[in-house]
Symmetry: C2
Subunit: 329 residues, 2 copies
């Protein structure tokens, strides 16, 4: 059967807690879905076996494996080239080892009809970028950057309609460009200091809040909570109520993101920067400061050209959709 | 005649003073060459007419236009997508206007045998990157960045074997990422402050020299010249003689370039950074500080992976070769 006739793709969102399997049709609808606990298995082999077992009834629902073009997996520490999860610290069966997950799933699923079954693997932010291009706000775009603002800051970069993997599969780590050089930079989980992630992740925003509250006496709704329990969501809520300190935190965060995007424009001059993650729920309160800072700091030839967009997949199961788009390439 | 049978390509290096036309064979040998004065013409039309007139005997030498696959032009302020020079401040006939140079040359050259003749245009640094990939140290590479250290700092970025032009044709302005944020940054010709170019161009290196000499009493060979006449070549010569101040200037310049390349790795994880231009003649005196700084500042997953190379085209007519490679794409 011709591949173009296959109407479905499998998208897998492999997280530290749950792994969600979805069957996605050509329009981006998840027509069948199930999940397993990622860490309920001692070995990668047992995890893959359980996953395929759970997938079989879903596949049967859409008419059998012959109807499925392939499978894409979005996972932490995933390398597209090798198809492996490379020493993921938060997954017990992938901790301190390289797990060739794409090959393992492919081999198991190939046995269903004795035909080769393509499986691709990439990291979460790259899967998000694929999802935006296939089903989201980047439809029709060839050059854009997705920036995920979560516990960390991730990125998926598309140039000439292709994801950027670099020579080793590890490109697109824009959360780790250095924004504050020298000793004043905040320490980062990557072992260095001053990374974008330390300022603009959810953790970074909460830290900014604690710093401003500790260094001033200014009144703020954020003082209703013990400082060490403040989360970025609290800042969003307070900013939405017009809290001045909370808005200043977003101004600071947006300024940093805008300056970073100005550097990214000098690199690949994207048509759009697309933001994804909890922080985006603050809408204009965070997006306007980013865009203003960008246009203030970017080279004159780029000024006013780039679009600043919020993900079109925020309310859908974006990670599953994105991963499935990887299979449709 | 099949395009693959055509043995030659025309490369044009269009500079502020001279425009060099070269006919290049498949191995990267310039088999015929001539030049005109770029600014000896009042209009772009007259410039193109003079260029084609000068090209005709060269084309005849290799057996006629039927033997030539196309023409590539490397020029300042050139846009690959539009094929135009867009308001180049240093060229009188392109000042404050958009000159569709690719189309103009194509139309003139098409009349030679009444066949369409492809002409492509790009900026100098992108042409250098094409040249490295076709004939230089990047042969066989799919992901690399060429950084040109001249009066300014330019760049040509190759990802997945393709030059990065961005959505508007202006990508690859790595001389204008911000290295020093805020008021302490040096003023840049682009109208902003703190750009990489203000520290690592030939002009930037000379400025670093003047600053160090003015702020200290340290002895240096560089004091043999009036401070305002020091050029980056003087720093290279003094460093080569073991001058401590000159070597400190290269340490400072290399540190800045290494930190910038660490950010570029987070973006596209290239196999190699290739340096081009006068400053590279200092060899290890500049290249070692760059590589050391890079490995000190880059994310651990990239450490020790990237190659730091000097252009393989330094002694050839690199700009003509690079431009000709554009025609062979």
């Amino acid at each position: 059967m011709d591949k173009t006739q296959k109407a479905f793709a499998i998208g897998v969102d492999l997280g530290g807690t749950n792994t969600v399997f979805g069957i996605v049709d050509a329009k981006g609808n998840i027509v069948a879905q199930d999940s397993i606990k990622t860490q309920a298995y001692h070995t990668a082999e047992a995890f893959v076996e359980a996953g395929v077992e759970r997938l079989q009834p879903l596949i049967a629902q859409v008419g059998g494996i012959e109807q499925v073009a392939g499978m894409g997996i979005g996972a932490p520490n995933a390398n597209y080239y090798s198809g492996a999860i490379e020493t993921a610290p938060n997954i017990a069966w992938a901790h301190e080892r390289v797990v060739p997950l794409a090959r393992m799933f492919s081999e198991k699923l190939s046995t269903l009809n004795s035909q080769p079954f393509p499986v691709r693997l990439t990291n979460d932010a790259n899967a998000a970028a694929m999802g935006e291009m296939a089903y989201g706000v980047a439809r029709g775009m060839k050059n854009f950057i997705v920036i995920t603002l979560g516990t960390g800051v991730g990125s998926g970069i598309v140039i000439n309609g292709q994801l950027v993997y670099g020579h080793d599969g590890f490109a697109g780590e824009l959360g780790h460009v250095t924004m504050v050089r020298g000793k004043e930079g905040r320490p980062c989980g990557c072992g260095r200091t001053g990374c974008l992630e330390t300022y603009c992740s959810a953790t970074g925003v909460a830290r900014t809040a604690r710093e401003i509250l500790a260094n001033t006496d200014r009144p703020s709704l954020l003082r209703d909570k013990p400082a060490d329990q403040i989360e970025s969501l609290d800042v969003s809520i307070a900013a939405g109520k017009g809290d001045e300190v909370a808005n200043e935190i977003f101004q600071f965060t947006g300024k940093m993101l805008g300056e970073a995007c100005a550097d990214f424009a000098a690199f690949s001059s994207p048509e759009a920067f697309i933001f994804f993650g909890g922080l985006c729920k603050a809408g204009d309160l965070i997006m306007k400061p980013i865009e203003q800072s960008y246009n203030q700091h970017v080279m004159p030839i780029f000024r006013g050209k780039a679009k600043f967009l919020i993900s079109g997949l925020m309310n859908a199961n974006a990670a599953v959709l994105g991963a499935s788009a990887l299979a449709l390439r």
